[in-house]
Symmetry: C2
Subunit: 204 residues, 2 copies
């Protein structure tokens, strides 16, 4: 059953294409849009277009940035430790690390992980761009590469691949600790995490 | 903490303005948009604009319709019983009734209910337009008005107001039954609904 307006139906279909939004929620969102002021809706529409027209990958770290702000704000920032690079999978991961307020080094965004099943090889995830950053003509030499990929099979494969590739270059490659999340109870932590936590134990 | 792209941040803010969508979901949606093809995103953006530019209220029933399709598809449809009008609050309510496949009469959408606290009076909800439909110069006379408003204080007030207004006109005004939903268990039905169900009992 459809609304008596084709324009509303089109908008519902567009909303329903978004992840996690079903037909019912899409209807509610479309009705909300219908009741907004025209200039508000135009702002929304141009924000959509802008994101496709203005967003590029930073030429240094491959993180998202705007045209005219390349290299990105983090790569240009003063006071950051340029000898450490944290390798992550997505721009959202950069955000997660920035939220900690602990990390002051640079980043490198792979935009994916090696996944032979999906036909994604090392060339598809910007490993070449990462390598070129490790021996810069100017600026300080990179001393440590922190691998912060998701603990999936593909993530671990990528960590292994990159660490083997970098061994001859003399760059120290580390990976972030797997263990018990802060606030979790031992009783409810799964076996895999618990054995990783045991392996990664540290002296007091 | 923000993304390193102002365009992405703007889009996240726009998504987060939608009802039921928080900052985290908005981030996920913005990232999804970033990975879509440009023409897909342009289709979404123009669907947003279209809904504001093309959607109008049907001059007969006040339901939503497109410019160039006024009166709306339901008002124009042949084979509908033009002597019965179902009065509802929103276009979504029309959709709900159409889904039943039972009702073959016409509709009238009030786009609101009388709510003195919010400063909404009879003039704001198109009661005048409803009255003008009851004594048409051409076509059959309306014999029944089915009030199908939400069972809130404001809804009941509106039902009462309209029924008193129409008494002199000799139009029969009915309201849809309040009672136990199909599939519900008596044990868990609230008292108000149960006493309404008792009041509205019918002979077998």
């Amino acid at each position: 059953m459809r609304y008596t307006s084709a324009a509303i139906e089109s908008l519902i279909e567009e909303f329903a294409k978004l992840p996690g939004i079903g037909r019912k929620t899409a209807q509610r969102l479309a009705m909300h849009i219908l009741h907004q002021h025209t200039d508000e809706v135009e702002k929304f529409a141009s924000a959509l277009i802008d994101v496709k027209q203005k967003v590029i990958h930073c030429r240094v770290c491959q993180n998202v940035t705007d045209i005219g702000a390349d290299p990105c704000a983090i790569c240009c920032a003063k006071g950051r430790d340029r000898s450490v690079i944290c390798v992550v999978e997505t721009p959202s991961d950069v955000l997660a690390f920035e939220k900690t307020g602990q990390y002051r080094g640079l980043y490198h965004v792979l935009h994916g992980v090696i996944s032979p099943l999906d036909g994604i090889g090392p060339d598809d995830i910007g490993v070449k761009e990462l390598l070129s950053r490790l021996s810069p003509d100017d600026g300080p030499r990179v001393s440590e590469l922190i691998m912060a990929l998701n603990p999936t099979v593909e993530g671990e494969t990528t960590v292994l691949y990159i660490s083997k590739l970098l061994k001859p270059l003399g760059v120290q490659v580390t990976k972030i600790a797997r263990g018990i999340p802060v606030g979790a109870e031992l009783e409810f932590v799964d076996e895999a995490t618990l054995s990783r936590a045991l392996e990664g134990r540290s002296a007091l």
